[in-house]
């Protein structure tokens, strides 16, 4: 029985793409929850499977080209294997998505107002005029000045930041219980990024919805996330309250990510990238998929190379999960951090 504020329950989700060269396992065994009023950040490099997982929540993968197993429950409704009919009802109303590149994600030939109104019209039987009014309201809500005029313009007449606001308006027009924002600030410059993040936060508070923020940028996470889920090579490797995970990471990958963030006080010679490259999702390495790049795997003997670690509660802390063979990971990482 899930608590009433759990909007999304993902259990053992796997998404695989059969290709000519083999099966690409983009997501494997992913489990997490999203709660009303809270922001969950899903963090990982490119290829970690975070976007694929996000799109799977709305059933946006082509069922003919994707093998999805596991369970995704949106407000109790099962998404995996659901009919197109069911999915269409859920989309935009129960859960909505804001995509990464608003220039390519908005239709270049339709006016912005119409694109927002369209989402509203699809789920409410009202007149076009009423839907248009609602669209203008939403554009206003997301902070676009002159919303009436802007609603009649085309996406290419908007600046990057305004486009992203419009995408957000589109996502929120039907008051969804869950908003998934896939890299909402990646295509924008820094000043605008902050505005967008603020906006997302305001709206979350106002609408009370759950927000999943998919990003590779830990700085963004630090600002806005309540909960944090770290993904690597299609798997969740660490999960927990954001502040705690960031201050006391329990997975070597999380630690490596944190240390690789350059700070303004250091100079370029002291950049600390994570050595190695993300593994191929076609032929993942045996054992723990991070072990080739892990600073700790040498000292662990053969186990990291042979056994894939299970998803278990993090030892020594509460409300956190981890996929690693380290016996006392938090401590191990702290000690190692100190030594470095």
């Amino acid at each position: 029985m899930t608590p009433a504020d759990v909007v999304l329950e993902v259990t053992d989700l796997s998404v695989a793409f059969p290709t000519e060269d083999g099966v690409v396992r983009a997501v494997s065994g992913l489990s997490y929850q999203a709660r009303l009023g809270r922001t969950l950040a899903i963090v990982g490099e490119s290829g970690s499977g975070k976007s694929v997982a996000g799109m799977a929540v709305l059933g946006l993968h082509d069922p003919r080209r994707t093998r999805t197993t596991g369970s995704i429950r949106l407000e109790g409704e099962e998404v995996v294997g659901a009919s197109e009919w069911t999915l269409q009802a859920l989309r935009s109303t129960t859960a909505a998505m804001v995509f990464q590149d608003p220039m390519s994600s908005l239709h270049p030939f339709h006016r912005v107002g119409r694109q927002v109104a369209e989402a509203y019209l699809a789920h409410h039987s009202v007149s076009k005029a009423v839907a248009h009014q609602r669209a203008v309201e939403m554009l206003d809500r997301v902070g676009i000045p002159n919303p009436h005029r802007r609603a009649n313009q085309f996406p290419h007449e908007f600046s990057g930041g305004m486009r992203q606001r419009a995408m957000i308006a589109l996502g929120l027009v039907n008051n969804p219980r869950l908003l998934i924002a896939d890299e909402p600030t990646t295509a924008l410059d820094v000043t605008v990024q902050a505005q967008i993040l603020d906006l997302l936060g305001d709206l979350r508070r106002e609408f009370g919805s759950a927000v999943i923020l998919i990003t590779h940028d830990l700085a963004v996470v630090a600002e806005t996330a309540d909960d944090l889920l770290v993904m690597y090579a299609g798997r969740a490797v660490e999960q927990g309250p954001a502040r705690e995970v960031l201050s006391r990471p329990s997975h070597p990958y999380t630690e490596a990510l944190l240390r690789s963030i350059p700070s303004p006080s250091e100079d370029a010679a002291q950049l600390r990238p994570i050595r190695g490259a993300p593994p191929s999702l076609l032929t993942p390495p045996p054992g723990c998929s991070f072990h080739p790049r892990c600073a700790f795997s040498d000292g662990m003997g053969a186990v990291c190379r042979t056994d894939a670690p299970a998803w278990r509660p993090t030892p020594g802390v509460v409300n956190r999960h981890l996929r690693c063979h380290l016996a006392d990971p938090v401590a191990a990482i702290e000690i190692a951090g100190g030594a470095r």
Binding site: M55, L58, L60, E84, L87, Q88, A89, L90, R91, S92, T93, A96, M97, F99, D101, S104, S105, L106, H107, P108, F109, H110, E118, A119, A122, H123, F154, H156, M167, L170
Partner: protein, 328 residues
């Protein structure tokens, strides 16, 4: 927008002029001899041939012939005939060597038939071709896709003359499944009924190409981010296909449509000939066979004019389809 249109009009006129000169050189200076068509070898002596050629004004210097023709386009021309002076008003396309009737009369009296044939064909290939393109794009890789695309390739490989002849013979004459052609002068309804067969045939042949263009354009459109956004809004699939994917994919189709309409309006030679439709295509092909130079020149000019104009129309239309295109 206005300056753009004006510039394009000026360019179009240049193209027309070049076409006129090229066509004139090709036909009037080339090996064509309309006098031979009127004076066959077994019935007509060599002096007669010379006489006819002189009567047609073909032994005068080329420059003189050209300047008369060119001038006629703008200010009209006078022809001496049986003691009368016959005025051919601008744009004067000359008099047919064979029938002595004004070329413009011959061309424009046949326009309605060609236009209706073109219209019918466009309706068929837009509905069939685009639909098949959308269906096969959506059903990409399935048996249906392979069947439809494979079938259209086979269809397109057979020489058109053969298909048209077989189609016309078996469907309209021998088995009488579809009505035969009836001249427009005998009533619009009968004429339209007679157009069913050729429009169907020509439309299906064009459909093969349009299905392919639409299919590849649609496959691209279906993989775009904005189509993904449309789906994420919970829109019904039909809406996604029509208002989002097809809307984006239709651009190249419109461009080709412009060219094809121009070609159709200049008359489809083989179709009109085989289905006995008295249109501009049949006029052109008959004139070509008999070296009726003024008629040939007239049809060439009219065709060039249509192509240039329709290109301009397509460009302007494009700016309405894709708002990112600004004509400046």
């Amino acid at each position: 927008m206005l300056t753009y249109v004006l510039r394009r009009v000026a360019l179009g006129l240049t193209v027309l002029l070049a076409t006129l000169v090229a066509a004139f050189l090709l036909f009037f200076a080339g090996p064509a001899d309309p006098a031979q068509a009127m004076c066959p070898e077994q019935r007509c002596s060599a002096e007669r041939l010379v006489e006819i050629r002189a009567n047609l004004g073909l032994d005068r210097p080329l420059a003189v012939q050209f300047s008369e023709y060119f001038g006629g386009l703008f200010v009209g021309r006078d022809f001496a005939f049986a003691g009368d002076v016959v005025h051919c008003s601008a744009p004067c396309l000359g008099m047919s060597f064979l029938t002595k009737r004004p070329v413009s009369e011959e061309i424009f009296s046949r326009f309605p038939a060609t236009v209706l044939l073109a219209l019918g064909t466009v309706i068929v290939f837009l509905t069939v071709g685009v639909s098949v393109g959308v269906i096969t794009a959506r059903a990409r890789g399935t048996v249906l896709d392979r069947l439809l695309i494979g079938g259209s390739q086979v269809f397109g490989a057979i020489p058109y003359y053969v298909i048209a002849l077989v189609f016309a013979l078996y469907l309209t004459r021998i088995h009488g499944i579809l009505p035969q052609s009836v001249p427009l002068s005998q009533g619009l309804l009968g004429f339209l009924a007679g157009l069913i067969a050729p429009c169907l045939l020509l439309g299906l042949v064009y459909s093969a190409g349009y299905a392919r263009y639409t299919r590849s354009s649609m496959i691209e459109a279906l993989s775009t981010d904005f189509v993904r956004t449309a789906r994420s809004k919970g829109l019904p699939e039909v809406s996604v296909l029509r208002s989002h994917a097809l809307r984006a994919a239709i651009g190249p189709v419109v461009t080709i449509l412009g060219l094809d309409v121009a070609a159709l309006l200049s008359g489809t030679l083989v179709t009109e000939k085989i289905f006995e439709i008295d249109g501009i295509g049949k006029l052109s092909i008959d004139a070509l066979g008999r070296d009726d130079l003024p008629v040939i020149m007239g049809t060439v000019l009219v065709t060039a004019f249509l192509v240039v104009t329709l290109n301009l129309v397509v460009d302007v239309a494009y700016s309405f389809i894709d708002p990112r295109v600004r004509l400046s």
